[in-house]
Amino acid sequence: MVYLAALPAGAQEGFPLNGSWHGEWSPTPSQKVPILIYMKWDTKNITGTINPGAKGMPLKVATLDPSKWTVHLEADTKDATPVHIVVDGKLDNLGSYNRTITGTWTQGTMKGDFKVTRD
């Protein structure tokens, strides 16, 4: 049953960052902030949004370095005074549907580790 339920999710074998990525980042060792990153390759650029929805933050910069499989993202919060977000991570388990990105999340003056897993 688990096997049958798992299959419809379907493999995604194209651009490795495509899709929805769920996870959290840690501004402090005891704090976990949930995050959702949606990314899509438009054949030339990576587009996407951090936390899609009313306060979704469009990606202003999104790059993938395939020589090291590192990811760099930048966005601004939708606050009255926007806060700049910089995400630097490493893509792991590239051959798996549920691959991960781990690294450092910087939001204004706060900085911490993050991990997201592809849904």
């Binding site: 379907g10 493999a11 074998e13 495509n18 395939p66 549907y97």
Partner: protein
Amino acid sequence: MKTFVSGMVLAALPLLAHHSFSAEYDEKKPVTLKGTVSKFDWSNPHVFFYLDVTDSSGKIVNWALEWESRIELKRAGWSQDSLKVGDTVTVEGSLARDGSKQAEGKSVTLASGKKLSSPNEAQAPKSNAAAKPTPKWPDGQVRLGIGPGELGYWASPSAASLVENTAGNIRMNREGILANIADAGKVAPFQPWAKGLYEYRQRNLLKDDPMASCLPPGGPRQFQVANGVEILEQPERKRMFVMSGGGNRNWRLIYMDGREQPKLEDATSTYFGDAVGKWDGATLVVNTLGFNERFWFSNGGLPHTEALKLTERFSRPDFNTLKYEVTVDDPGAYTRPWTGGWTLRWVPDQEIEEYFCDDYNRDQEHAEGK
């Protein structure tokens, strides 16, 4: 003895799965085994037999020998009666990478001296109809499939993987794994990410191949699968079907009724896409778009995106040869359109028998990961 047999079965179970041979076995570690056949599994997705071998200490060790599918072995002269329990045989093969008592079979020599080889080692089948001209329909159109009263299908592609036709001779094994990874950039005009992903798959010996999870071989790969393809033409219905011998007996539909193809953004993304064909003289030209990204469109792990469009050209220069050429237009993965192709050989007087790749498939963990 009972304990020994139980342990042997547990050890052998992971092999009863569909997977890349290169990921499981090391061609650089040949082995010769002489022993007695204890079991012969004439099964899909891969044929197995088990061999009791006396080691240097006098202990009997049971080895599992894995071979290709029944369809491929039949093409190389095997049958379900080729081996019997109790036969004394000598096997040449390649050892399993995990160090277990398992090997990929290359050839087996019976006590009578008769030698059976894996299809990769055996000579390709020769048609008895070499002198026959290209068959045609009553209206003069070339036949790509079987004619009245005939049996046969297409197999034995002349290339292991799709490669740009200007690339020259790039050495690779039958699964499309490059002999020299430095040749990756010659295979196709990759975008950087696509080249990186291709190299990653190559370095991992194609272990993440979606076909190992029994997903279909869409695109050109349908004409690379070892079990062959059959082309069924239905001129009265203005359509053709391409029936895969591998995968899970998948089929692809090509509309020949002159209909308009949907725009890429309107197409439903599927494994085989939306295909329309028309004849250009003696060449069938098929345009296909609307692919999903859940499969590898060629042996060897070439990446693609949903932007993929294919233009395929099929011709039959003689009775025994199908010429296949494909132009890949995928601006999401490649820097420009590019073309490659190969020929397939007619396998006369045989049907593609039933084949389901997940028969005996115990590789559930891998499937869940997809």
